[in-house]
Assembly symmetry: C2
DNA sequence: GTAATTAATTGGAACGTTCCAAATATGTCA
DNA sequence: TGACATATTTGGAACGTTCCAATTAATTAC
């Protein structure tokens, strides 16, 4: 059935030219005569030829036009949107991407990286799994493949990175809550021993201290960075001897969970308790109450990461570049300051 | 800097054997002597050799071990989970996947398919964009590349498909609502002229009719299949002269939107109005109220689709196979029947 | 009419692997 | 020892492209 594939030589024979000419036509070279080009293209369509990029990549000068993307949790909207942003840029640049989910497993991540290397990726964007070490990315950098680490940093790795300004974002969010009259503000959700968590907690702490309030450790309640984690965290927070009246959450997923947990406890988020998230995923805007959150613009971040990688691939330069993306607080209703929200009791 | 890459010939030279022997070692052939194998492997590690799969794929017998996955909306949790399920299976099978988002654009989808073909995918799993025609998938099937269409069907395309039993799911959901005492049950959200929508509406209609109730068209309110779409749909539903007391929603995203919209209108989902979703995404379980929904198990569906594709690749058989995955109603709280929910007023 | 210039085309080696057929080494049996 | 079987190794052609250097054809200049 599936007859052996059509190659340039077949085209050449059918069009009565040499394979070199066909190759030139394929690359839209200006060297070839209009009439010849037309004829060759006609034959190409007629025989249903498909270009074999693998064969072309064999010549050492060529670029594979394949890049790798690895994210740590694709089921989290934040990362899905990040991936979509990258996809957009890569696709318009004529690249195709291997996209894999490490599910926070460094072992899986290692396998995927190895597999992608064997397939000759020209670059990699990675949101590293927890516990990723510089050594995991070393071989890539050593063989001249540009790597952009996004969202999370890998300490000691000589790769470019694009992370958001977690410290400033958290600080701004807490300052806003303070301006609304809160003083007992919790930090809810997220896994404790990660850099991102540490940076956000630091912002939370410094904002409270600068405002002249206490920042007791018991108000920092870690859990998973998910909706379920948010529910668990707010339950613990409400059972404290002196419960908080507001919370900055590790991310939007946790913040939604906190809202769910508040309702389960008979409290209305935005009215009885102020909730602020982090990320600004799409649903943040349409949720009820709309979520006040620190906007990281995941799609935009994905696009920037992709552009950064493309720049490195095209210029062939290897020096890593560290970019900290700015963030801004988007005030909606869940903090009690939005127009449509009811008045806060605190 | 980046010296030209290390090849089998370099390994051969360094280990004092022929390139053929190195090749045998790479394929873990039992033909080679233990001592030789050890030496070659040592050299491979020492020189930091990376296998060039592209070169190997050149021989026409070889399989590229690359498959393509295209989904229509990766920002929708349902599809993200679907992709994660596929990723799991593919990765353990030693495959790597191109994963792209068509964003419901048939043009983008076409480009992506073409690009993936040029890169020599051994198979494709696609959740087709709206408006995809059989012709779009024809060339793949013609060149013997197995294709599995998932979630949505492409009429007339001779490819395998794996869809869920939309009709039975919708019918069961409505029957459940009827058993709870509802008779004015709306169908909310989703884009009207799609097969999936039609099937679910038909299930809704038949269940109502069988129960002896009316199924007026005005109770079918389409919109986008998103959270925002759900909000819009319930707003319109509540403004009807005789508003419904319950709703089956096109999917979970829309159902969450309906819950949001209900609260915005001062009604509590699960108590004042029964809501049922479709899909059973992860958040359905942890949301408050937990969402009663028709479980499609997206990750499981992704895994099944991947297994189906692998089977087709391995057996080399081309005959398409149409599978309808069974679904089951998961009763939680948003319909008012769950244990923790308050009593329904209707 | 010949030389020089420009425009088009082309043969063939190279890219890094696999795999066949053939060669060599090792062992066994009479 | 020679004849055979078995275990291991190997040269070289192929896979489908690109690209250099060289060729041929067409045009222009003198």
């Amino acid at each position: 059935m599936s007859r052996s594939r059509v190659t340039v030589v077949d085209i050449a024979r059918a069009a009565g030219v040499s394979k070199s000419t066909v190759s030139l036509v394929l690359q839209a070279s200006p060297l070839v005569n209009e009439a010849t080009r037309a004829k060759v293209n006609a034959v190409i369509r007629e025989l249903g030829y498909v270009y074999n990029r693998g064969a072309a990549n064999l010549r050492q000068s060529a670029s594979s036009r394949i890049i790798g993307i690895i994210v740590n949790d694709l089921t989290n909207s934040f990362f899905a949107e990040l991936a979509v942003g990258m996809d957009m840029v890569m696709q318009s640049a004529g690249y195709v991407q291997f996209l894999s989910n490490s599910a926070e497993s460094v072992d899986r991540q290692r396998e995927v990286v190895a597999s992608m290397r064997e397939h000759g990726i020209s670059g990699l964007i990675i949101s590293p799994a927890r516990g990723t070490e510089a050594a995991d990315l070393k071989p890539l950098a050593a063989s001249g493949i540009p790597v952009v680490s996004v969202v999370r940093n890998v300490v000691g790795a000589k790769v470019s990175s694009l992370v958001s300004d977690n410290y400033a974002g958290a600080k701004a969010a807490v300052a806003h809550l303070v301006s609304l009259g809160h003083s007992r503000i919790a930090f809810l959700g997220g896994i404790a021993n990660t850099t991102v968590f540490a940076e956000r907690v630091q912002g939370w702490r410094d904002a409270l201290v600068e405002a002249g309030f206490e920042a007791p450790d018991m108000l920092v309640i870690g859990s998973t960075a998910s909706r379920a984690g948010g529910v668990a965290a707010i339950e613990r927070a409400l059972s404290l001897p002196a419960p908080p009246t507001a919370a900055l959450c590790f991310n939007d997923a946790a913040a939604f969970g906190v809202c769910d947990g508040l309702r389960a406890a008979g409290r209305e988020p935005g009215r009885d308790f102020a909730v602020v998230g982090f990320d600004d995923v799409i649903e943040a805007e349409t949720a009820v109450p709309a979520l006040t959150t620190v906007s990281v613009d995941p799609q935009g971040m994905g696009r920037r990461a992709a552009q950064l990688l493309l720049k490195q691939i095209n210029t062939g330069k290897v020096e890593p570049e560290a970019i900290v993306g700015s963030v801004r607080l988007v005030v909606r209703q869940s903090c009690g300051a939005g127009e449509k929200a009811g008045r806060m009791s605190a």
